[in-house]
Amino acid sequence: MRASLKRLNLFGQGPLIALLLLCAIMSLLTGRFLSPLNLTNILVQSSIMAVIAIGMTFVIVGGGFDLSVGSTVALAGSIAAMTMPQFGLIAGVLAGVATGGAVGLVNGAIVAKLGINPFITTLGTMVLVRGVVYIVTGGAPVGDDRLPSAFLAFGTGRFLGIHYLVWVPAILVVVLTWAMQATPYGRRIYATGGNREAAYLSGIPVERIVASTYVWCGALAGLAGVMLAARLQSGQPTAGEFYELTAIAAVVLGGASLHGGEGSLYNSIIGVFIMVVLGNGLNLLNVDSYWQRVAIGVVIIAAAAADRLRSRS
């Protein structure tokens, strides 16, 4: 009981407090911020990034890093959009997710088995996968009007008044939080990221654990790619650029440590909301898009600095 109270204390809720403050400021500055339309907008805009951030949290908690998710989003979306007209909706979704999982497996095998730095490995696959996207699509959007109508409805439709796209991360975060907190597998990820050597000497198969986090990250980026294709009504080869940076920033804003062993899916989602609300609010305030980038960069560094100060005390 005391433990669960402790987990809910004010200190651990830094990201949520920051988000609420940000929302309060935005709603004071512009009346349009709290309109139902805009809030729905924020939810939909956050949904795809949230799915990516969930996967990224697995990797970062496990002590790794994945730059290839943006390219994976594009590849998975394109593969899904190319598969669907012939083999149907389900096959297309599965193909997209499997494509992402395969990219993750390659990343994980290289990082865990060969011991190559994750930054370099995923920088390599980021460029490589983007190349593959252009090869398979010929550089043009794929799918278009030949996509199944059910798929297009998934990108725009609602269930119980909430977009299908929003249900996806909502369900994922509940199920996967359970997996990370309450299963042996989840606790092993935290231990491996916190101290790989000690985890190894406790009998944990650290290579397999690390590799698996990349598979999660890749597969979820694949799912995000499918969602994005549904929203854009086509597979876009240029989709997902800079998504990796936004996702990593969101996870760090959520309090995860880039040294591994710390972070939670819930807080990473909060981090995503902070990023999206910031962009959305600045848009409503008609802030120049170049200045928006400057502002977002400042926020990321400020969040990292705040985290550093907190962990030092």
Partner: protein
């Protein structure tokens, strides 16, 4: 009355609600070794860190050569001539032995008015300094390729190289073998004769008796006793530290049982461990004693063929060893614990698969197990949700042992299980080891403290250059001379 080289007057220091030091006076004269002893948490490390400029005292003052100083950080202390070697080594892993040894003050030469590091002189100086400790590693080797004890020697050599007024040594011998300790003591004697003041913190009380000119005992942040050479004995120190007389636990030699673990291949360091046995591994640095433990736990690339309870098994990696009911306590605490995780999570780490029901961890069962073990091992504070990093060294070591007791292994491989921890915690760990063996477990323990092995083991294997050179039994009485000869010391 000589002016102290370093003096602390009425020092107090709080950390949150904890009072670490309460009005402590301490000084060390030029050419004097002043030992500082006390249990974990008595305030030794805090006092040492204040002298080294790491912490600022809440009250009181520090004087160097009679002049009051305020240290804003470790740099100020170093500039004032106070050099300290903390327990954790401050070495740069990616740099070579020679580079680390001269870091901060490398030999320079002028090339066309530009000051460059003189690499040949750097190597020469490093070699000379290490030769004083009779240690000759490959100077170009990256420091992280050396063992913990070897890195400790480099750190000591680094401190000896700096000309200093006051040398503060915090547990310098924790990982060292008898031979290196002798060399260190010889080097300290030379420095002492040159007028250096030496503050010496150690848990090894026999060392303190042999080395110190004065000895101060800290208890609960206050000075419990200060006495001069010849006035203190080990028993007195223990009494002053703990407030009670020492009670030695001796291993009760119980009849050995069935063979639990043995090497299936013929090799010069083949092991056979029976139930109820505590087998000690004695050897100098690089004798292969540590390698035996790491090999049996499946660390490294090689697969190991053993017989476990008589059945052949192949060990590929630690996870296979754990499944075979083997636990391992490494010689460095940072290898045994995930510091960010709670005490509870650390204790349960090897047992996660056993606590799962339908894929889900049984939280209540885990809590019960952790509570039981924390009571049994007297782990303090008795809060299972604090991070492991918040515990003292002795309690951390107990948590590492608890990990394997939670898993209910029947073979324990212990590498320096009581290194750098106080007498009380040491006695508790010895009791746990004895109890484990009594209940049918087998223990293989390496320690550089031969007195410790003689105390807890039913048999001792002496290793030298990767071979078992002698086997001593408790029933024959451990002959220390014979043991020294067998390990080549």
């Amino acid at each position: 009355m000589a002016i102290p080289a370093a003096g602390a007057r009425a020092i107090s220091k709080h950390f949150g609600a904890t009072r670490a030091l309460d009005g402590v006076d301490f000084d060390v004269l030029p050419g004097e070794v002043h030992a500082l002893v006390g249990e974990n948490g008595a305030g030794k490390s805090t006092l040492v860190r204040i002298l080294a400029g790491v912490h600022r005292p809440d009250a009181g003052e520090i004087a160097i050569d009679g002049r009051v100083r305020q240290f804003g950080g470790p740099r100020d202390a170093i500039a004032a001539g106070v050099i300290s070697i903390p327990q954790e080594l401050r070495l740069v892993p990616a740099l070579s032995v020679a580079e680390n040894l001269t870091l901060g003050d490398p030999p320079l030469r002028n090339i066309l008015g530009v000051r460059m590091v003189d690499r040949s002189r750097m190597r020469a100086e490093a070699a000379a300094q290490l030769a004083e400790l009779d240690f000759a590693p490959d100077l170009a080797l990256r420091i992280d390729r050396l063992s913990f004890a070897e890195r400790q020697l480099v750190a000591i050599a680094k401190a000896l190289r700096r000309r200093c007024r006051v040398l503060v040594l915090d547990e310098p011998t924790a990982a060292l073998e008898a031979r290196e300790i002798e060399r260190l003591f010889a080097a300290l004697a030379r420095m002492k004769n040159q007028g250096t003041a030496i503050v010496y913190v150690s848990h090894r009380l026999d060392e303190v008796v042999a080395l110190a000119d004065r000895c101060t005992v800290l208890r609960d942040g206050r000075i419990a006793a200060t006495s001069r050479r010849g006035e203190f004995r080990v028993a007195d120190l223990v009494k002053a530290m703990t407030g009670r007389a020492a009670a030695a636990v001796e291993a009760s030699p119980s009849a050995a049982g069935a063979v639990l673990l043995e090497d299936a291949t013929d090799r010069p360091d083949a092991i056979r461990l029976r139930a109820h046995e505590v087998i000690g591994l004695a050897g100098l640095l690089r004798s292969g004693a540590g390698a035996v433990l790491r090999r049996l736990f499946g660390i490294g690339k090689d697969t190991v063929d053993i017989r476990r309870d008589g059945r052949p098994r192949r060990i590929v990696g630690p996870s296979a060893a754990v499944r075979a009911g083997i636990g391992f306590v490494p010689d460095e605490r940072r290898l045994g614990l995930v510091m960010k995780l709670s005490v509870r999570d650390n204790i349960l780490l090897p047992s996660l698969d056993r606590l799962a029901r339908n894929g889900r961890l049984d939280r209540a069962k885990g809590d019960r197990l952790v509570c039981e073990l924390m009571d049994m091992l007297d782990i303090r504070p008795r809060h299972m949700h604090v991070p492991a990093s918040a515990l003292s060294g002795g309690n951390q070591q107990k948590v590492i042992l608890a990990k394997w007791l939670a898993r209910d292994v029947s073979v324990l491989l212990l590498d320096e299980p009581t290194q750098g921890i106080d007498v009380a915690a040491k006695a508790q760990i010895h009791a746990v080891i004895g109890d484990f063996a009594k209940r049918g477990g087998g223990v293989l323990v390496r320690s550089s403290d031969l007195a410790e092995l003689a105390l807890i083991c039913s048999g001792i294997l002496a290793l030298h250059q990767g071979r078992i050179t002698d086997r001593l039994r408790r029933s024959e009485g451990f002959d220390e001379k014979r043991l020294h000869a067998a390990i080549g010391g």
